[in-house]
């Protein structure tokens, strides 16, 4: 027993000296205090103080560790700190952006803003009703095109294609398609309808086609993942009962994966509903409501935000504020869709066999 008890002691003596566990906290507090003192005496703003404090912390902890521990430990501490600094830097823009949009946009939100259009509105704030209608209709069109194509393609990939050459190419090119710039999708729709309908055609359904080009790859990939999760036992049980393959897919496989598919489709909608560039090209912009997807230019929320901010006309103040209001509404819609997707995923949690 005695040898066992002494063993840890010898190890402890042999080990290099370590800084106390709360060393980073001490270094952080000292750095922040020094940075604040320096900043106040030199009259910097908060951003300057934080930058200096972080630098002091990195250098200070490094030197302290180098003196007490060794160079390797100092490097380790340094990299750990840098990784957390990177994380902090990544969060700053998001917080700043949300803060800015909410504080600038919230005063704009009222009944008039949501129910009026910009038709014949001069010198006073109008509304974004026409833009919301446009966005909903165009996104609906994109969804109606994308979901059947995406769903059927995913079924092909999982149930029929397997590892055949065509399936592998589709899988790969779908991945590549997720990287198509949105403006190229807009140009595609423009060029397509310029040839099919006539030069310079701009209407809502073109926006639907452009957005579906961006949406289909997302739907295919998420649906494919969900179909793969369906246990093979279910399919085999169904075949054993003499059910045809197509009926097995429609009645057994799809219902099992439905929750995940709904989540994936909702996330895909959230992805494309904020797209601006394609709609700018193929849908144009207008101040009035247009309920007809197949005729005339159609406003949409993102295009409204863009054009109100860049071409505010004679009352820049009013229209630029409306752009911020529109941005807040757009962010609320996107976040709500993300939330719905997660809740839907949780409610209809996949009933897998394991």
């Amino acid at each position: 027993m005695t040898s066992l008890q002494t063993a840890p002691d010898t190890i402890a003596q042999a080990r290099v000296r370590r800084l106390p566990r709360f060393a980073p906290a001490i270094a952080g507090a000292v750095a922040l205090a020094a940075g604040t003192l320096l900043g106040i005496s030199l009259g910097w703003n908060v951003a300057g103080i934080v930058v200096v404090a972080v630098l002091l912390y990195l250098v200070g902890l490094n030197i302290w560790s180098r003196l007490v521990e060794n160079a390797r430990a100092a490097t380790d501490r340094m990299m750990t700190s840098l990784i957390w600094v990177a994380l902090g830097l990544a969060f700053i823009p998001l917080v700043s952006l949300l803060y800015k949009v909410i504080t600038k946009g919230a005063p704009q939100l009222n009944g008039r803003f949501l129910t009026w259009t910009m038709r014949n509105v001069i010198g006073e704030p109008g509304g974004i009703y026409h833009a919301i209608i446009g966005t909903l209709l165009i996104t609906l069109a994109a969804t109606v095109i994308s979901v059947p194509v995406g769903l059927l393609s995913a079924i092909y990939l999982v149930e029929y294609g397997g590892e055949s050459r065509m399936a592998r190419w589709i899988r790969f090119l779908v991945d590549v398609m997720t990287g198509i710039p949105s403006i190229v999708a807009g140009l595609f729709a423009y060029a397509l309808f310029a040839i099919v309908v006539g030069p310079g055609t701009q209407f809502g359904i073109g926006g639907g086609v452009a957005l579906s080009l961006l949406m289909i790859p997302i739907v295919v990939r998420s649906t494919e993942e969900m179909l793969k999760l369906v246990p093979n036992d279910l399919r085999e049980a169904s075949y054993a009962l003499g059910v045809p393959k197509w009926k097995t897919i429609v009645r057994v496989v799809l219902p099992t994966a439905m929750a995940g598919i709904i989540t994936g489709v909702t996330l895909a909608i959230a992805r494309v509903i904020g797209e601006t560039a394609p709609l700018l090209i193929i849908c144009g912009n207008t101040d009035s409501s247009n309920f007809n997807l197949f005729g005339g230019q159609m406003a949409s929320l993102p295009v409204f935000i863009y054009s109100s901010y860049t071409q505010p006309g004679r009352n820049p103040e009013i229209l630029q504020n409306m752009a911020w209001g529109g941005a807040l509404v757009l962010i609320i819609i996107v976040m709500a869709l993300n939330l719905i997707a997660r809740i839907a995923g949780r409610i209809f949690a996949p009933k897998t066999g394991h």
Partner: protein, 311 residues
């Protein structure tokens, strides 16, 4: 579940099966057709621009002279974005995969997803309305103290709407995609490699450097390339933030900046007609080809990491 196995197991092919199988195959083929369609329609609509005469292309002699400065600006903005975003994304990915406790790591993942969910036009609004003005003093400082470096020659832009601001906004926008892929690859690092490094007395950073980073090296490269593809094609943030004049310059902080292909299309398309519009479509084709190549190469590398392909 191949068609071959169906043939051997069921003696007669049912009509429903044939129809359904062909329906799904058609949908799959439709995706390939639409991708080819993008190239075909852009080419057919952009073709007149290649034979355009001087004077029809915003004062350029031919299409090549017209598109070259735009390609330069596109690549410059994307490279700035990558230089900023890649180290940050690697830090965040390591924090999620190896540093943060699991519960915090999940929360970080949600926040990064949120960053990806913000529409690009809102990023643009933030860039022109908030970030740009905030950066003016920094640009002035750079101009005064580091003006001897060509990158910061100045004179500093009074609005902050420079290619450098664009690079920062693009960096924020590509951060989520680089993070998502690298964190996926880092978390696939063989456990044995990590434990072997630790058992030999490596500190946590040495373990990361010796086992995680070498394993993920090509994954990091392709993640950065996917980010590059994204930054090359980003439109609205650039169109809103950049005060572009179509010059070719490495001066990052002045008020005369190179434009990008995507931003140029968005800015000029509504007001242009005839051959000018064809030229915009043709420049879109150039953008499509560039991003397609970048994405193709990146995806080819990422595919190697897919479970089951390679141990």
């Amino acid at each position: 579940m191949t068609t071959a196995s169906v043939r051997t197991t069921s003696p007669k092919r049912r009509l429903g099966d044939v129809v359904f199988a062909n329906l799904t195959r058609t949908a799959g083929a439709l995706i390939l057709v639409s991708l080819a369609g993008v190239a075909i329609f852009l080419t057919s609509e952009g073709l007149p621009a290649f034979g355009a005469k001087a004077g029809e292309l915003q004062g350029h002699d031919n299409f090549l002279a017209y598109v070259a400065p735009l390609v330069f600006g596109t690549i410059l903005a994307a490279v700035i974005a990558l230089v900023i975003a890649t180290p940050l994304a690697l830090g965040v990915a390591l924090a999620v995969s190896h540093y943060a406790p699991r519960r915090i790591a999940t929360a970080i993942g949600y926040v990064i997803d949120l960053l990806a969910a913000v529409p690009s036009v809102v990023y643009g609004l933030w860039g022109i309305g908030f970030l740009g003005p905030k950066l003016i003093p920094i640009y002035q400082w750079l101009d005064e103290h580091l003006g001897f470096i060509p990158l910061f020659k100045g004179p500093a832009s009074p609005t902050g709407r420079t290619i450098f601001t664009v690079g920062i906004v693009l960096a924020i926008m590509v951060l989520p995609i680089i993070t998502a892929i690298t964190r996926e690859i880092f978390s696939q690092t063989p456990r044995l490699n990590e434990e072997a490094a630790l058992a030999l007395g490596a500190t946590r950073w040495e373990m990361v450097r010796l086992s995680v980073l070498p394993y993920g090296r090509s994954g990091i490269v392709s993640a950065a390339m996917l980010g590059l593809g994204r930054a090359l094609g980003e439109t609205m943030a650039v169109a809103l933030v950049l005060s572009a004049s179509g010059v070719v310059t490495f001066n990052l902080i002045s008020s005369t900046n190179p434009s990008t292909i995507a931003a140029n299309i968005a800015l000029s398309f509504p007001d242009s007609t005839g051959v000018a519009r064809n030229a915009l479509v043709a420049s879109g084709l150039v953008l499509f080809v560039i991003t397609f190549i970048v994405n193709f190469a990146a995806r080819a590398v990422v595919a190697r990491y897919e479970p089951g392909r390679k141990k």
